[in-house]
Amino acid sequence: MKYIDEFRDKKVSKHISNKIKNLVDGQDKKITLMEVCGTHTMSIFKAGIRSLLPPNINLLSGPGCPVCVTPNYYLDKAIAYSRLPFVIICTFGDMIKVPGSSSSLEEEKGSGGDIRVVYSPIESMKIAMENKDKSVIFLGVGFETTTPLVASTIIKAKEEGIKNLFVLSGHKLIPPAMIALLKSKELKIDGFICPGHVSTIIGAEPYSQVAEEYKVPSVITGFEPLDILEGVLMLVNQIVNGTESKVEIEYKRAVKKEGNIKALSVMNNVFYVSDSEWRGMGIIPDSGYFIRDEFSNFDVEKNIDVKVEETKEHPECICGEVLRGVKIPTDCSLFKFVCNPENPVGPCMVSSEGTCAAYYKYGKD
């Protein structure tokens, strides 16, 4: 088994799709399912999942793209750091093109800033070891999938006695954002397609409040076309037949109920949870990871002072509303002609996991 082709069988997808159609047959109730993972957004478009679902099932993208939910203030701060002559910025590639209030890391790189794209946080440690006269700042952006990696890097750097590596933590937790969406009552969400990779780390328990208190069925789903269809089938089954809402795991080959205990312990060893600001969603309680005092030598905000410009938002960009699922990219006056992957105005068009980028690349199917 290679875990790929087996989960892309077209014949099976037809059967699952028929099962979903039979379940909602005769129902005129509109069912809205939200995915909160950028990789799901892309897979849904790529595999043409929407065309396999009955018209009353509506798939919406939520705040699942880490670069997209990162607020302008974070970007502005990263840009300000990049202007310091003794600083090397290390970042995942998606962040480079995202516009801040008046610049982007790409522009800063063009004007001489030392900004390096890394594939893994571990590389930033190597860069720090090779540039002892510089301060190396890793831009810690990402959900529970990425935070343990950064935690592991910090622990390793501490063991190695590295003194010039820092992290600007913008790490976030997904379940509190789901709760925030439900609390706001801006839109009715009937079920959540829960993120596969985030859940390999956190397991199923963190979604229980969504299912039990807010009564919204939640299914942790894999990324292959059959996984997504099966996840939708499990959700629709709960919505149509279920007496109680629960958290289920479709992606059983990768997600254990308890998550990855080792990764969780590494992450919680280095980070603590507190309130954090999200683009378009404001400050969400207990939704961000911050570096603990024991590791404060690696927290750039506690070690290097910088003046950050006043935050400005593009007046016409609706990225925030797209992240909340209340608008779709084609509702935006900038979409396609003004804002596109070559000239992105907002992060949802920049990131390879952004909803606007998905609509641009695959069209609205």
Partner: protein
């Protein structure tokens, strides 16, 4: 990706001939031949073959019912 070599916390994974060095610091009990989920240079979880077979079996049954 398939783990083809491991030495302490460092592993080499392979997919279609492409090899990559990864960290195993976030995962316990891995062995050669395991299929791993890799994220930004780290193995974050092991794929469970028994569970994968179970999922495929459910789909086989869906097919045979129709």
């Amino acid at each position: 990706m398939k783990l083809i070599k491991l030495e302490g916390e460092i592993g080499i994974v392979e997919l279609s001939g492409v090899k990559k060095e990864i960290s195993l610091s976030l995962l316990d009990n891995v062995k050669k031949g395991d299929y791993l989920i890799i994220h930004a240079g780290f193995a974050i979880q092991k794929l469970d073959e028994k569970e994968a077979q179970e999922t495929l079996k459910i789909w086989e049954e869906i097919e045979s019912i129709e």
